[in-house]
């Protein structure tokens, strides 16, 4: 990875004040809304062209919801998602698109799912799964279609004759390759990778990470890489966003975040990851957080982290901390904490 990261500096995707609330209803005939699950609550960030933005956090922090809300698989409650369309050279507001327009834009933004077992239709052959985007977007027909499917299979390191096989004939790692080939089929410029390796065996994970990096290099892709494995995120990302309970805790360059974490949650998260080396482990300081992540239906007042924070003071319980840029020398390091 280049130290300065990929990314030409142009902003490909800009998310502003994104909110995604899911209503909680009571009653059978007369449904009434009793509360909201604030899965994503007012977050803003941007992704540069060609870079990988890592999105980390624990389960229920809203990282997957963020990915889906960007793709408009969920329609956001509020906020904007601005996407720069390289072909037309225009900025497109994804939240305002509907029907045919949105479908056409989906050609450029794709997703790789977490579960390589659930995300492939067991009744479709591997070839038709990969070829489906080609048909939907009318990108290839006849011999071109077959050639393109074969090319895609080769691109992700599978044999072209696998096209006639069905998902159950493949291992987890191979299925994830099929999922990647499907995402690549329509020549997207932006791919949301939603925990693409967490269901895979350790020895296979590295294969898929390397593949994703090669593809990025080759096709100039931009990734939003969602994961909970911090070591993997540090390896693959240029910049990292840390989320907690629907909010952004910290955004920084990948090395900066690991060398100089500012938010107490980021610090705890990093210290909780065991390092595969007993000598290093015996010397490391651990911050053990107490309690569980609170329910996003009733998030704590003020800073959402204050219930588990080792350095919380009174102001943390009352005021929501703003995301502030504390990076010096032209570097960006955003953190939302009263105590920093």
């Amino acid at each position: 990875m280049a130290e300065n990261g990929h990314g030409s500096g142009n902003i490909l995707l800009e998310v502003n004040n994104l909110k995604m609330y899911f209503p909680v209803t009571r009653g059978i005939i007369f449904e009434r809304k009793v509360a909201d699950v604030k899965a994503v609550d007012d977050i803003s960030f941007y992704i540069r062209q060609g870079e990988t933005l890592g999105l980390v956090g624990e389960s229920g922090c809203g990282k997957t919801t963020t990915g889906r809300a960007i793709l408009q698989l969920y329609r956001p409650t509020a906020g904007t998602v601005k996407f720069y369309d390289q072909d037309s050279g225009q900025h497109v507001e994804l939240t305002a698109l509907k029907g045919e327009q949105l479908r056409r834009m989906r050609r450029k933004i794709q997703i790789i799912f977490q579960d390589p077992y659930g995300s492939l239709n067991p009744r479709m052959s591997c070839g038709s799964i990969i070829g489906e985007p080609l048909k939907i977007h009318g990108l290839a027909r006849g011999r071109d279609y077959n050639d393109r499917v074969e090319e895609l299979l080769t691109t992700v390191g599978l044999h072209p004759y696998f096209a006639s096989r069905y998902p159950h004939e493949f291992s987890g790692g191979q299925r994830q390759r099929i999922g990647i080939a499907r995402a690549l089929a329509s020549n997207p410029s932006f791919i949301v990778c939603d925990e693409p390796i967490s269901a895979l065996d350790v020895s296979i994970q590295a294969q898929i990470i390397n593949l994703l990096e090669e593809l990025q290099e080759r096709f100039g892709l931009t990734y939003l890489f969602i994961a909970h494995d911090l070591a993997v995120v540090r390896h693959i990302s240029d910049r990292i966003v840390v989320m907690y309970l629907g909010k952004i805790a910290e955004i920084a360059d990948h090395l900066e975040l690991y060398e100089n974490p500012l938010h107490p949650y980021t610090k705890a998260l990093l210290s909780a990851v065991p390092i595969p080396d007993p000598v290093v482990e015996s010397k490391r300081e651990r911050i053990i957080l107490h309690g569980d992540v609170p329910s996003p239906m009733h998030p704590p007042t003020g800073c959402v982290f204050h219930t588990r924070c080792p350095i919380a003071i009174d102001v943390c319980k009352q005021e929501i901390p703003e995301l502030r840029n504390l990076g010096g020398g032209g570097k960006e390091h955003w953190v939302a904490c009263h105590r920093v």
Binding site: A206, Q207, E281
Partner: protein, 328 residues
């Protein structure tokens, strides 16, 4: 400290329509009292089945322990009757399972499930077992333990359920705790909490632990000694520091190199193990890791390598010396 458990040439097989799956294929090891042993490997390498075999919890049919012996506290477990085995299970030897969501009974209260073992093994009456259950919940860090005894599993979060499982496992002061991927389903911060509790309780009670995981970091933090398994066999065994410092089997070497580490300078590319884990029904002759091995020689295809001594208390099943790339 005496030897608590000796496993000799354990073989567990599953008789399926596709053929015989040799899930555990000749595993031998010892465990000292109070020691923590890490059992590492990928899915399908036989690590869970070897633990279930110790508890004699292999579903028969299709599974069967076909050979070997397991000596625990001086008794050969494979020769015991089912009744005698029940007096050991949950009492002298307990297990924590991977899935805290599914391993608790959803229609019984937590208190009922906790007191079951206490009443059975410790011969406690209702009041005693309830008091002890509350103490146990407190020990694993569940607040308002007394009130929560009447709650059902769905009222607990994943981390809390795993803590209940630990409380159940430790309830009869077992000599051996088998922890089968105890934190795989949990978040990192919760994972750290849970593992710290296991470590604290076991060192207080002098319980030996076999921790089964695919996470090399967890093993590095908690295990004294490590057994690495591949395709049903132990392929390398050593004290933790020795194993991580001087891995001698190409598979262990590959595993350690393929995971990115938080404390390392960044690498351009990860160094994965190529290929796929073997199919246990049709194992190739010779060393099962050979098709993926970068050190492989002709000899590896012919004969399964025995465990060679490669250092102090350190053995590896490989024909090749990975430090030189030459045959032994």
């Amino acid at each position: 400290m005496g030897t608590l458990l000796t496993v000799r040439d354990l073989k567990t097989q599953f008789f399926t329509q596709e053929g015989v799956v040799k899930a555990v294929d000749g595993v031998t090891y010892d465990l000292q009292e109070g020691e923590t042993l890490g059992l590492v490997g990928e899915s399908g390498c036989g690590k869970s089945v070897s633990a279930l075999s110790l508890m004699r919890l292999i579903a028969d049919p299709p599974g069967k322990i076909v050979d070997g012996n397991i000596e625990f506290e001086g008794r050969d477990l494979l020769k015991l009757s089912e009744d005698e085995m029940r007096s050991i299970r949950g009492n002298r030897m307990a297990m924590i399972f991977q899935e805290p969501m599914t391993s608790l009974n959803p229609v019984l209260t937590i208190g009922r499930q906790l007191s079951e073992a206490l009443e059975l093994h410790m011969k406690m009456n209702k009041q005693q077992s309830r008091r002890r259950s509350a103490e146990l919940l407190e020990m694993v860090g569940i607040p308002e333990a007394d009130r929560r005894l009447d709650d059902y599993p769905h009222q607990f979060s994943g981390g809390m359920r795993q803590r209940v499982m630990i409380a159940m496992g430790m309830s009869c002061n077992p000599k051996l705790l088998l922890a089968d991927e105890p934190t795989t389903a949990l978040d990192v911060t919760i994972q750290a909490q849970v593992l710290e509790i296991v470590k604290k309780l076991c060192s207080e009670m002098g319980t030996a632990v076999i921790i089964i995981t695919h996470n090399l970091g967890v093993v590095a933090r908690y295990a004294d000694r490590v057994n690495v398994m591949y395709a049903g066999r132990i392929i390398e065994r050593a004290p933790a520091e020795e194993l991580y410092g001087h891995p001698r089997h190409p598979y262990t070497l590959g595993l350690l190199h393929s995971v990115p580490r938080l404390d390392e300078s960044l690498k351009e590319k990860l160094d994965p193990i190529e290929g796929l884990p073997p199919d246990l029904v049709n194992l190739p002759p010779g060393c099962p890791f050979r098709p993926r091995c970068r050190f492989a020689k002709d000899k590896c295809a012919e004969e399964y390598p025995p465990l060679f001594d490669v250092g102090k208390n350190h053995t590896a099943a490989c024909w090749v010396d990975v430090t030189t790339g030459e045959l032994r």
